[in-house]
Protein backbone atom coordinates (compact mmCIF):
# COMPACT_ATOMS: atom_id res chain seq x y z
CA UNK A 1 0.00 0.00 0.00
CA UNK A 2 1.10 3.54 -0.63
CA UNK A 3 1.03 6.46 1.73
CA UNK A 4 1.37 10.04 0.55
CA UNK A 5 3.74 12.25 2.51
CA UNK A 6 1.51 15.30 2.38
CA UNK A 7 4.00 17.31 4.40
CA UNK A 8 6.29 17.34 1.36
CA UNK A 9 3.61 18.67 -0.97
CA UNK A 10 2.88 22.31 -1.68
CA UNK A 11 -0.72 23.15 -2.61
CA UNK A 12 -2.28 26.19 -4.23
CA UNK A 13 -6.00 26.49 -3.56
CA UNK A 14 -8.02 28.93 -5.63
CA UNK A 15 -11.67 29.62 -4.79
CA UNK A 16 -13.51 32.92 -4.44
CA UNK A 17 -15.69 31.51 -1.68
CA UNK A 18 -13.96 31.90 1.73
CA UNK A 19 -16.01 29.07 3.25
CA UNK A 20 -14.88 26.62 0.59
CA UNK A 21 -11.26 27.75 1.02
CA UNK A 22 -11.55 27.10 4.75
CA UNK A 23 -12.95 23.61 4.10
CA UNK A 24 -10.19 22.81 1.62
CA UNK A 25 -7.52 24.10 3.97
CA UNK A 26 -8.96 22.00 6.80
CA UNK A 27 -9.04 18.86 4.68
CA UNK A 28 -5.51 19.34 3.32
CA UNK A 29 -4.04 20.10 6.73
CA UNK A 30 -5.70 17.05 8.23
CA UNK A 31 -4.28 14.92 5.40
CA UNK A 32 -0.90 16.18 6.63
CA UNK A 33 -0.15 19.07 4.28
CA UNK A 34 1.73 22.02 5.75
CA UNK A 35 2.10 24.31 2.79
CA UNK A 36 -1.30 25.44 1.52
CA UNK A 37 -1.43 28.77 -0.31
CA UNK A 38 -4.76 30.40 -1.07
CA UNK A 39 -6.00 32.75 -3.77
CA UNK A 40 -9.50 34.17 -4.21
CA UNK A 41 -9.36 34.85 -7.94
CA UNK A 42 -7.62 33.53 -11.02
CA UNK A 43 -5.23 36.46 -11.43
CA UNK A 44 -3.90 36.19 -7.87
CA UNK A 45 -3.65 32.42 -8.28
CA UNK A 46 -1.51 32.83 -11.39
CA UNK A 47 0.84 35.19 -9.57
CA UNK A 48 1.08 32.79 -6.63
CA UNK A 49 1.63 29.90 -9.02
CA UNK A 50 4.73 31.59 -10.43
CA UNK A 51 5.96 32.66 -7.02
CA UNK A 52 5.42 29.54 -4.90
CA UNK A 53 5.69 26.85 -7.63
CA UNK A 54 3.09 24.54 -6.06
CA UNK A 55 3.10 20.79 -6.66
CA UNK A 56 -0.68 20.59 -7.02
CA UNK A 57 -3.28 23.24 -7.90
CA UNK A 58 -6.87 22.90 -6.71
CA UNK A 59 -9.15 25.42 -8.36
CA UNK A 60 -12.79 26.36 -8.56
CA UNK A 61 -14.29 27.04 -12.00
CA UNK A 62 -16.43 30.16 -11.52
CA UNK A 63 -14.32 33.01 -10.15
CA UNK A 64 -13.83 36.74 -10.68
CA UNK A 65 -11.20 38.40 -12.93
CA UNK A 66 -10.50 35.18 -14.75
CA UNK A 67 -11.94 31.82 -13.96
CA UNK A 68 -10.48 28.41 -13.19
CA UNK A 69 -10.68 27.34 -16.80
CA UNK A 70 -8.62 30.35 -17.92
CA UNK A 71 -6.21 29.72 -15.06
CA UNK A 72 -5.67 26.16 -16.31
CA UNK A 73 -5.10 27.42 -19.85
CA UNK A 74 -2.55 29.97 -18.63
CA UNK A 75 -0.66 27.37 -16.60
CA UNK A 76 -0.62 25.00 -19.58
CA UNK A 77 1.61 27.13 -21.76
CA UNK A 78 4.33 24.80 -23.04
CA UNK A 79 6.77 27.64 -23.68
CA UNK A 80 6.25 29.35 -20.33
CA UNK A 81 9.11 29.89 -17.90
CA UNK A 82 7.04 28.38 -15.10
CA UNK A 83 6.01 24.77 -14.72
CA UNK A 84 3.31 23.89 -17.27
CA UNK A 85 3.04 20.29 -16.00
CA UNK A 86 1.65 20.75 -12.48
CA UNK A 87 -1.45 18.65 -11.79
CA UNK A 88 -4.64 20.74 -11.74
CA UNK A 89 -7.67 19.47 -9.87
CA UNK A 90 -10.83 21.34 -10.76
CA UNK A 91 -13.28 21.40 -7.87
CA UNK A 92 -16.57 22.85 -9.05
CA UNK A 93 -20.29 23.07 -8.54
CA UNK A 94 -20.77 22.40 -12.24
CA UNK A 95 -22.03 18.89 -12.65
CA UNK A 96 -22.79 18.45 -16.35
CA UNK A 97 -20.82 16.06 -18.53
CA UNK A 98 -20.08 18.76 -21.11
CA UNK A 99 -18.31 20.77 -18.39
CA UNK A 100 -16.02 17.83 -17.68
CA UNK A 101 -15.12 17.75 -21.37
CA UNK A 102 -14.46 21.49 -21.49
CA UNK A 103 -12.27 21.29 -18.37
CA UNK A 104 -10.39 18.32 -19.79
CA UNK A 105 -9.75 20.22 -23.02
CA UNK A 106 -8.33 23.15 -21.03
CA UNK A 107 -5.67 20.84 -19.56
CA UNK A 108 -7.29 20.02 -16.23
CA UNK A 109 -5.88 16.79 -14.77
CA UNK A 110 -8.76 15.75 -12.48
CA UNK A 111 -12.35 16.93 -12.11
CA UNK A 112 -14.14 16.83 -8.76
CA UNK A 113 -17.79 17.86 -8.65
CA UNK A 114 -19.07 19.43 -5.43
CA UNK A 115 -20.25 18.60 -2.83
CA UNK A 116 -16.72 18.00 -1.68
CA UNK A 117 -15.84 14.95 0.40
CA UNK A 118 -12.60 13.99 2.11
CA UNK A 119 -12.58 10.72 0.20
CA UNK A 120 -13.16 12.34 -3.21
CA UNK A 121 -10.41 14.89 -2.68
CA UNK A 122 -7.94 12.31 -1.35
CA UNK A 123 -8.64 10.02 -4.31
CA UNK A 124 -7.97 12.80 -6.84
CA UNK A 125 -4.71 13.73 -5.09
CA UNK A 126 -3.65 10.08 -5.02
CA UNK A 127 -4.39 9.82 -8.76
CA UNK A 128 -2.21 12.78 -9.69
CA UNK A 129 0.61 11.74 -7.36
CA UNK A 130 0.71 8.01 -8.11
CA UNK A 131 -0.51 7.82 -11.71
CA UNK A 132 0.62 10.84 -13.68
CA UNK A 133 -0.27 10.69 -17.37
CA UNK A 134 2.07 11.68 -20.20
CA UNK A 135 1.50 15.11 -21.72
CA UNK A 136 0.24 15.57 -25.25
CA UNK A 137 1.01 18.59 -27.37
CA UNK A 138 -0.93 19.25 -30.55
CA UNK A 139 -1.69 22.43 -32.49
CA UNK A 140 -4.70 23.07 -30.28
CA UNK A 141 -3.97 21.26 -27.03
CA UNK A 142 -1.27 20.98 -24.41
CA UNK A 143 -2.01 18.97 -21.30
CA UNK A 144 -2.30 15.54 -19.75
CA UNK A 145 -3.24 12.71 -22.10
CA UNK A 146 -7.00 12.86 -22.39
CA UNK A 147 -7.15 9.12 -23.06
CA UNK A 148 -7.08 7.50 -19.66
CA UNK A 149 -7.43 4.00 -21.07
CA UNK A 150 -7.70 2.21 -24.37
CA UNK A 151 -11.10 1.03 -25.46
CA UNK A 152 -10.85 -2.23 -27.35
CA UNK A 153 -14.45 -1.84 -28.49
CA UNK A 154 -13.75 1.54 -30.15
CA UNK A 155 -14.93 1.67 -33.76
CA UNK A 156 -13.83 4.58 -35.89
CA UNK A 157 -10.86 6.40 -37.29
CA UNK A 158 -7.73 6.89 -35.22
CA UNK A 159 -7.45 10.62 -34.71
CA UNK A 160 -3.82 10.56 -33.64
CA UNK A 161 -1.70 9.58 -36.58
CA UNK A 162 1.95 9.61 -37.48
CA UNK A 163 3.50 6.25 -36.71
CA UNK A 164 2.44 2.79 -37.65
CA UNK A 165 2.11 1.49 -34.10
CA UNK A 166 -0.17 4.40 -33.24
CA UNK A 167 -2.82 3.46 -35.78
CA UNK A 168 -5.51 1.26 -34.34
CA UNK A 169 -6.72 -1.37 -36.75
CA UNK A 170 -10.46 -1.38 -36.44
CA UNK A 171 -12.75 -4.01 -37.96
CA UNK A 172 -15.37 -2.55 -40.25
CA UNK A 173 -18.91 -2.40 -38.96
CA UNK A 174 -19.81 -5.06 -41.51
CA UNK A 175 -17.07 -7.42 -40.30
CA UNK A 176 -18.11 -6.81 -36.74
CA UNK A 177 -21.75 -7.53 -37.57
CA UNK A 178 -20.76 -10.74 -39.38
CA UNK A 179 -18.68 -11.93 -36.48
CA UNK A 180 -21.61 -11.63 -34.09
CA UNK A 181 -24.00 -13.67 -36.28
Amino acid sequence: MFRIDFNKLRFLVCDDNPHMRRILRTLLHSFGAREVYEAEDGATALEMYSHYVPDIVITDWAMPIFDGLELAQMIRQPESKGNPYAPIIMLTGHSEKRRVTVARDAGVTEFLAKPISAKGLYQRILNVVASPRPFIKTKTYFGPDRRRNTNSAYMGPERRVGEKHEVLQQPSLLDKARSTI
Binding site: L9, N17, D55, Y85, R98, A113, P115, P132, E163
Partner: protein
Protein backbone atom coordinates in the same frame (compact mmCIF):
# COMPACT_ATOMS: atom_id res chain seq x y z
CA UNK B 1 9.97 19.82 -6.40
CA UNK B 2 7.25 19.48 -9.05
CA UNK B 3 9.36 20.33 -12.05
CA UNK B 4 11.87 18.02 -13.72
CA UNK B 5 14.88 19.46 -15.47
CA UNK B 6 14.69 19.64 -19.26
CA UNK B 7 17.05 16.67 -19.71
CA UNK B 8 14.62 14.38 -17.87
CA UNK B 9 11.79 15.20 -20.23
CA UNK B 10 11.41 12.84 -23.18
CA UNK B 11 9.53 14.05 -26.24
CA UNK B 12 8.35 11.67 -28.97
CA UNK B 13 7.32 13.51 -32.11
CA UNK B 14 4.52 12.20 -34.32
CA UNK B 15 2.96 13.77 -37.38
CA UNK B 16 0.12 15.45 -35.54
CA UNK B 17 1.27 15.53 -31.95
CA UNK B 18 4.06 15.18 -29.43
CA UNK B 19 3.98 12.78 -26.49
CA UNK B 20 5.91 14.16 -23.54
CA UNK B 21 6.93 11.86 -20.72
CA UNK B 22 9.04 12.55 -17.69
CA UNK B 23 9.90 10.78 -14.44
CA UNK B 24 7.10 11.31 -11.95
CA UNK B 25 8.16 14.52 -10.20
CA UNK B 26 5.99 13.65 -7.19
CA UNK B 27 7.34 10.12 -6.72
CA UNK B 28 9.29 11.18 -3.63
CA UNK B 29 6.11 11.77 -1.66
CA UNK B 30 4.90 8.20 -2.17
CA UNK B 31 5.94 5.65 0.43
CA UNK B 32 5.15 1.96 0.35
CA UNK B 33 3.91 0.86 3.78
CA UNK B 34 2.50 -2.28 5.33
CA UNK B 35 -1.26 -2.29 5.74
CA UNK B 36 -0.86 -2.28 9.52
CA UNK B 37 1.16 0.92 9.28
CA UNK B 38 -1.39 2.77 7.19
CA UNK B 39 -3.01 5.61 9.04
CA UNK B 40 -6.44 6.91 8.08
CA UNK B 41 -6.08 10.34 6.45
CA UNK B 42 -9.65 10.29 5.15
CA UNK B 43 -11.08 9.52 8.58
CA UNK B 44 -8.92 12.23 10.09
CA UNK B 45 -10.13 14.74 7.50
CA UNK B 46 -13.77 13.77 8.04
CA UNK B 47 -13.30 14.34 11.76
CA UNK B 48 -11.74 17.73 11.10
CA UNK B 49 -14.67 18.63 8.84
CA UNK B 50 -17.10 17.57 11.55
CA UNK B 51 -15.22 19.91 13.85
CA UNK B 52 -16.16 22.79 11.58
CA UNK B 53 -19.83 21.86 11.46
CA UNK B 54 -20.75 24.26 14.27
CA UNK B 55 -20.07 27.09 11.83
CA UNK B 56 -22.02 25.68 8.89
CA UNK B 57 -25.37 27.27 9.76
CA UNK B 58 -23.83 30.72 9.98
CA UNK B 59 -21.92 30.20 6.70
CA UNK B 60 -25.12 29.08 5.03
CA UNK B 61 -26.95 32.14 6.33
CA UNK B 62 -24.27 34.34 4.76
CA UNK B 63 -24.69 32.53 1.44
CA UNK B 64 -28.49 32.84 1.37
CA UNK B 65 -28.32 36.52 2.34
CA UNK B 66 -26.05 37.08 -0.64
CA UNK B 67 -28.55 35.31 -2.90
CA UNK B 68 -31.42 37.30 -1.48
CA UNK B 69 -29.58 40.61 -1.95
CA UNK B 70 -28.68 39.70 -5.52
CA UNK B 71 -32.33 39.06 -6.36
CA UNK B 72 -33.56 42.24 -4.65
CA UNK B 73 -31.17 44.21 -6.90
CA UNK B 74 -32.68 42.53 -9.97
CA UNK B 75 -36.24 43.14 -8.79
CA UNK B 76 -35.43 46.83 -8.26
CA UNK B 77 -33.33 47.51 -11.36
CA UNK B 78 -33.85 44.61 -13.77
CA UNK B 79 -31.31 42.25 -15.25
CA UNK B 80 -27.88 43.49 -16.29
CA UNK B 81 -24.88 41.27 -16.97
CA UNK B 82 -23.37 42.08 -13.55
CA UNK B 83 -26.65 41.52 -11.67
CA UNK B 84 -27.32 38.29 -13.58
CA UNK B 85 -23.79 37.05 -12.85
CA UNK B 86 -24.06 37.88 -9.16
CA UNK B 87 -27.36 36.00 -8.87
CA UNK B 88 -25.88 33.03 -10.74
CA UNK B 89 -22.70 32.94 -8.64
CA UNK B 90 -24.66 33.18 -5.38
CA UNK B 91 -26.93 30.31 -6.47
CA UNK B 92 -23.99 28.34 -7.85
CA UNK B 93 -22.07 28.62 -4.56
CA UNK B 94 -25.10 27.35 -2.65
CA UNK B 95 -25.45 24.49 -5.13
CA UNK B 96 -21.84 23.49 -4.43
CA UNK B 97 -21.63 24.17 -0.69
CA UNK B 98 -25.06 23.50 0.80
CA UNK B 99 -24.80 19.71 0.93
CA UNK B 100 -21.43 19.96 2.70
CA UNK B 101 -23.01 22.38 5.16
CA UNK B 102 -25.85 19.93 5.88
CA UNK B 103 -28.52 21.43 3.62
CA UNK B 104 -28.74 19.04 0.64
CA UNK B 105 -32.28 20.11 -0.30
CA UNK B 106 -31.11 23.74 -0.57
CA UNK B 107 -28.37 22.55 -2.95
CA UNK B 108 -31.03 20.93 -5.13
CA UNK B 109 -33.15 24.10 -5.27
CA UNK B 110 -30.07 26.22 -6.01
CA UNK B 111 -29.13 23.87 -8.85
CA UNK B 112 -32.61 24.29 -10.31
CA UNK B 113 -32.25 28.09 -10.06
CA UNK B 114 -28.84 27.93 -11.78
CA UNK B 115 -30.39 25.99 -14.64
CA UNK B 116 -33.07 28.65 -15.11
CA UNK B 117 -30.47 31.42 -15.20
CA UNK B 118 -28.24 29.47 -17.58
CA UNK B 119 -30.82 28.15 -20.00
CA UNK B 120 -33.76 30.58 -20.11
CA UNK B 121 -33.50 32.35 -23.50
CA UNK B 122 -34.65 35.67 -22.02
CA UNK B 123 -34.40 36.19 -18.27
CA UNK B 124 -36.75 39.20 -18.40
CA UNK B 125 -39.49 36.88 -19.61
CA UNK B 126 -39.08 34.26 -16.89
CA UNK B 127 -42.11 34.49 -14.56
CA UNK B 128 -40.96 36.32 -11.41
CA UNK B 129 -42.64 33.63 -9.28
CA UNK B 130 -40.19 31.06 -10.60
CA UNK B 131 -37.32 33.06 -9.09
CA UNK B 132 -39.12 34.00 -5.86
CA UNK B 133 -40.31 30.43 -5.21
CA UNK B 134 -36.76 29.13 -5.56
CA UNK B 135 -35.22 31.82 -3.37
CA UNK B 136 -37.94 31.60 -0.72
CA UNK B 137 -37.57 27.82 -0.67
CA UNK B 138 -33.82 28.09 -0.04
CA UNK B 139 -34.44 30.62 2.74
CA UNK B 140 -37.09 28.39 4.32
CA UNK B 141 -34.93 25.25 4.10
CA UNK B 142 -32.00 26.98 5.78
CA UNK B 143 -34.10 28.58 8.50
CA UNK B 144 -36.24 25.51 9.25
CA UNK B 145 -33.62 22.80 8.78
CA UNK B 146 -33.13 22.09 12.46
CA UNK B 147 -36.65 20.70 12.70
CA UNK B 148 -36.47 17.01 11.86
CA UNK B 149 -39.97 16.90 10.37
CA UNK B 150 -39.00 19.57 7.88
CA UNK B 151 -36.27 17.51 6.18
CA UNK B 152 -38.61 15.38 4.08
CA UNK B 153 -40.69 18.49 3.29
CA UNK B 154 -37.51 20.24 2.11
CA UNK B 155 -36.61 17.33 -0.15
CA UNK B 156 -40.13 17.24 -1.59
CA UNK B 157 -40.09 21.01 -2.13
CA UNK B 158 -36.75 20.71 -3.93
CA UNK B 159 -38.06 17.93 -6.19
CA UNK B 160 -41.22 19.85 -7.10
CA UNK B 161 -39.42 23.09 -7.88
CA UNK B 162 -36.97 21.20 -10.08
CA UNK B 163 -39.92 19.65 -11.94
CA UNK B 164 -41.58 23.05 -12.49
CA UNK B 165 -38.30 24.62 -13.62
CA UNK B 166 -37.49 21.72 -15.96
CA UNK B 167 -40.97 21.83 -17.52
CA UNK B 168 -40.55 25.58 -18.11
CA UNK B 169 -37.04 25.20 -19.57
CA UNK B 170 -38.06 22.31 -21.80
CA UNK B 171 -40.91 24.38 -23.17
CA UNK B 172 -38.97 27.61 -23.81
CA UNK B 173 -36.02 25.74 -25.31
CA UNK B 174 -38.01 23.53 -27.66
CA UNK B 175 -36.32 25.24 -30.65
CA UNK B 176 -32.84 25.26 -29.06
CA UNK B 177 -31.65 21.65 -29.20
CA UNK B 178 -28.21 22.39 -27.74
CA UNK B 179 -29.82 23.71 -24.54
CA UNK B 180 -32.45 21.00 -24.51
CA UNK B 181 -29.77 18.34 -24.63
CA UNK B 182 -28.02 19.82 -21.57
CA UNK B 183 -31.29 20.31 -19.68
CA UNK B 184 -32.30 16.69 -20.21
CA UNK B 185 -28.83 15.19 -19.62
CA UNK B 186 -28.28 13.43 -16.30
CA UNK B 187 -25.98 14.99 -13.69
CA UNK B 188 -22.54 13.42 -13.21
CA UNK B 189 -23.01 13.65 -9.42
CA UNK B 190 -24.26 10.27 -8.18
CA UNK B 191 -27.68 10.31 -6.52
CA UNK B 192 -27.30 9.50 -2.82
Amino acid sequence: MAKNSAKDIEVKAFATHHVITQPNPLRKVLRRVEEKDMDDPIGRAEQALAGLSGEFKSWMTTEVNRLSTAYVAIRNDGFSKERRDELFHAAHDIKGDAATFGFPAAAGVAESLCRIIEHAPDLEKVPAELFTHHINAILAIVHENTRLDSISVSAELSRRLRKVADDYLTDVNRDRPEHLEVILAPSIVPVE
